[in-house]
Symmetry: D2
Subunit: 339 residues, 4 copies
Amino acid sequence: MIIVLKENPDQKQLNNLTDWLKGMGLDIHWSKGESTTIMGLVGDTTKVDMALIEALDIVERVARIQEPFKNANRKFHPLDTVIDIGGAKIGGGHFQVIAGPCSVESTEQICGVAVDVKAAGAGLLRGGAFKPRTSPYAFQGLRAKGIEMLEAAKEASGLPIVTEVMDINHLPLFENVDVIQVGARNMQNFELLKELGTMDKPILLKRGLANTLEEFLMSAEYIMAGGNEKVILCERGIRTFERATRNTLDLSAVPYLKKQTHLPVIVDPSHATGIAALVRPMALAATAAGADGLMIEVHNDPAHALSDGAQSLKPEEFSDLMGAVKAIRPYSHQYHKGQ
Amino acid sequence: MIIVLKENPDQKQLNNLTDWLKGMGLDIHWSKGESTTIMGLVGDTTKVDMALIEALDIVERVARIQEPFKNANRKFHPLDTVIDIGGAKIGGGHFQVIAGPCSVESTEQICGVAVDVKAAGAGLLRGGAFKPRTSPYAFQGLRAKGIEMLEAAKEASGLPIVTEVMDINHLPLFENVDVIQVGARNMQNFELLKELGTMDKPILLKRGLANTLEEFLMSAEYIMAGGNEKVILCERGIRTFERATRNTLDLSAVPYLKKQTHLPVIVDPSHATGIAALVRPMALAATAAGADGLMIEVHNDPAHALSDGAQSLKPEEFSDLMGAVKAIRPYSHQYHKGQ
Amino acid sequence: MIIVLKENPDQKQLNNLTDWLKGMGLDIHWSKGESTTIMGLVGDTTKVDMALIEALDIVERVARIQEPFKNANRKFHPLDTVIDIGGAKIGGGHFQVIAGPCSVESTEQICGVAVDVKAAGAGLLRGGAFKPRTSPYAFQGLRAKGIEMLEAAKEASGLPIVTEVMDINHLPLFENVDVIQVGARNMQNFELLKELGTMDKPILLKRGLANTLEEFLMSAEYIMAGGNEKVILCERGIRTFERATRNTLDLSAVPYLKKQTHLPVIVDPSHATGIAALVRPMALAATAAGADGLMIEVHNDPAHALSDGAQSLKPEEFSDLMGAVKAIRPYSHQYHKGQ
Amino acid sequence: MIIVLKENPDQKQLNNLTDWLKGMGLDIHWSKGESTTIMGLVGDTTKVDMALIEALDIVERVARIQEPFKNANRKFHPLDTVIDIGGAKIGGGHFQVIAGPCSVESTEQICGVAVDVKAAGAGLLRGGAFKPRTSPYAFQGLRAKGIEMLEAAKEASGLPIVTEVMDINHLPLFENVDVIQVGARNMQNFELLKELGTMDKPILLKRGLANTLEEFLMSAEYIMAGGNEKVILCERGIRTFERATRNTLDLSAVPYLKKQTHLPVIVDPSHATGIAALVRPMALAATAAGADGLMIEVHNDPAHALSDGAQSLKPEEFSDLMGAVKAIRPYSHQYHKGQ
């Protein structure tokens, strides 16, 4: 970290600053020019609050040189993390597709989808039991019962299951869940992240709607700082001015994150676009960009037209997509080869 | 709600749709033109999921006519809500300033600030005990001890206290807290909102960084749907491309929200701008725009230079600001007079 | 277009509205419910100003059913437009890569790059002669001389040339330019668009930094309304809160635009990301998503280290990329097959 | 400007960089630590392209210490610029309201509004002759005839006139226009800015929809670098995810700009919000925040209901607003007093 001081700084305030920095175990490397004095901080600067320093009267500017995350940082962990989920590996060249309905609705529904998506090549089953909804009057998910149905589908299909947690107090219900998902709205629910950091279970962390990639990595760092290093990052679209799609899928996040971190990075084109016709092209694009996996909404109940969400694929569309993904995978961008 | 159908819709799918809508207790008013058929839904459409309907093959477009919130809606509750916080009233012409430090650091600090801001005219004391921080390595607040210190400051000054909750499990600690604050990152922590809806305590709900005003009102609706109607809305800046300020303070939110809802609306210029020099002009602007109150960061420890955050005012600056706010209040925009 | 009236509208104002609409040649289809009256407008509503109507006291809401663009609309022109640029075809299954340096610097430089990128498989040569720069003190391009150098490179390599125009008055210099580029900052320079609409030359229209896809298509419509139907759309990133990349590449724009319009859609990953290491993965992603071409910055002067911009590829990197693009093309999403 | 080098930089590339920097007339102040080497650039760094340097393999990070604008910079010109427009002064404590219709429609209309707004206290008349419209099929303004009508209104009322230019070639028509407005979409039409820099006429420069405040000041710098120092900055809302208002009015821009520059700063609440009911509160807020003036849309033709745009005030509403603005002015934030 570099601190650029204003001209003729107040000496007492400067002493306060240097004492405080040294108290944090940092060495200071001074560089005094004609009009500008620069302090270079040497040591672990992850605990240093940039905004606090920049607010001081004597400080002109502060610039960070090192990333504020450690456990998630590829510089310190150059090899890809590979996460094994009941035999389904992700990361380090292993590619997985997580598929299933938006909401778990019944045992028949979720078991049916599970069998269908497994046949098409999916490696994990997804399904929402706890549903974050903008309106208190909208369907909030089957909750505990939904998780039981997911467990039945796991038994019926052999697929590991992924489902979202919305509150620390629900975690006991997730004992047989293979991957706990943190939704976009909870990416900075720091108490939840800390609790997940104490568990020995893979966490699928979705990027928040308005969170930078650095903040995304810092939330992974929250989980990893607690000891749980099994974090899967998921880009699912950010909020911008564009209204044609529900969110704006930021696919540059894939190669950018792969460069910064050793964690697996997957993409959810269903929630990102909110339009079924865009899921296939964006899934292929994510694969080509070097994602380690995909998360795709699939529904299997053509008779029940109304539960067929705007962004869900039918099983046959999903199967067709899986074929295209497999065809494109060998030609996709690979971090180690391409950079 | 209006549903515009595509030309020649599949009759079976249309029957499914009409049955489903009628099953929700809605009446349908048909309007068939040459090429376009329009369904007008009459009844309580708050439970109807627009996205679900818009996803149907037979549907061209869906438009909502009524707001999806009821308890928070001024149409149904034309009179301003007035919330009484231990004698300090807010809303309906009552204006309150909530002031105090970003973080509670010690009993001396918080009691000192409390006395100072009360003398300057503040009606409530704020101070962070639980601190949401982007980095797991940054100071996370004094937590339970911080709340105890706030309680001491309440006793010393007589000011009601406002502090942020980050997790449902911490709520027992908030028994003597007068107003529970929900931070921007928790605006859509729906489980927390539901729990707060069961309490008999005023809730200060901050707008999320990337949340629309409609979503803001829907989160208030979550709390109110549970029976707790004491919700104070707080605009604190949204995330945009601009980097000169930490966030972009959306002051239009004040008159817009006042038009849509009967709840009090306040503004936090400290967090919105992140720059002490901008707090005063934005506090005056918020007052002129018709806000029901302000939330201002004030620090009182000039000797301890480093704890003086970028966005905090010194007590004398705060006192000066209070004078200017009082001068401008009589000429501010008032909902009932101005509209 | 549908107009929903408020309850008990003022009759005189309603007469004004209906007269005005009929004066524009529109038929009105009335639908009167208990509390809501809906006016359905039949005819060419492209000239109707929605905002104007929505502002009326008697109007509750206005919803557009048809897109406001005609010439660019795939509904009216289902077949892909194929544009022939001196033998290089783009659109309708024809894929082209436009490559070259950010700025034209010298005849040697541009001719060298031209030969290199042609050898690697590029179909067109790009190079900036007029450079839009944020600072008046930055290099503004070689202007007229730069275009002469591009013409020399065209002769040397046989590649058609693409370069940006910044002002109507410069157009006479573009006589031998094969494709005139409209930069992001000029996407809504309507006078320029109108002038380009009178020309018989392909126009490469870049999306503005803060423009929706609908506005993008409306700007294409400006050119086409003047009679010039040779418009190539180029997604080049939009401005969001994210700071890791220069802009946020909105790849969903590719399949969305392909669905809405018959015009060719290409992607510029160099300007979108601003980071050389992200160009290759995003170029592959764009190809997989079904783009009709790419625009890539390539530099050929390794000795002159400083002119090697952050986002430019070296010729060997570009050649490698072209190989990967060709490998991925057969498996990419195709509008007619996939939708 | 500070350049932080990577560890063990390639010596040849480093020599290239130092030679290039010295060639630009800059002195380099070296600071070599254990692992980090920092280059401090002394001299006029406004011409140095940060992105270019940051792209070099040997560079870790670049940080600017000084603002890239000079003529507009308050550091070098501490006193407020006062611009005299035919007797109406703006800046340096002088406050002006510019009022009038969105579009000039007829001589009667514009003369009528002129007389009305003058009576209410407006100092300048606005009216659109050239209209930037998203759709080529929408009304494009009366153009040359509109300017003639404005001139008639100027004669009738004595008010100086402000109107927007859309293209360099139209400038001869602006001879009798008192203030030339550059619209948001042309804020970075650099050729136009350069041309305006050669004129001796006040320029009202509107902020672009997606432009940062630094870019805004750089566009003012374009005009001033040509010799024309009469630039008025106008905040008119930026584009964000929020849909309740047309744009998001960024009022923090007022005190931020006043701190950075000596130029007058005004606010246009009509275009920013797009909703008549929000114009008054936002006009008062802008005044309180320390703006040097306002730009307000006013219409005077109650009989012709349809031309009454969503964001225009009626003359009596405007007159009422002027009274409130005058009442609030004495208590508004003032740069010199408040900072």
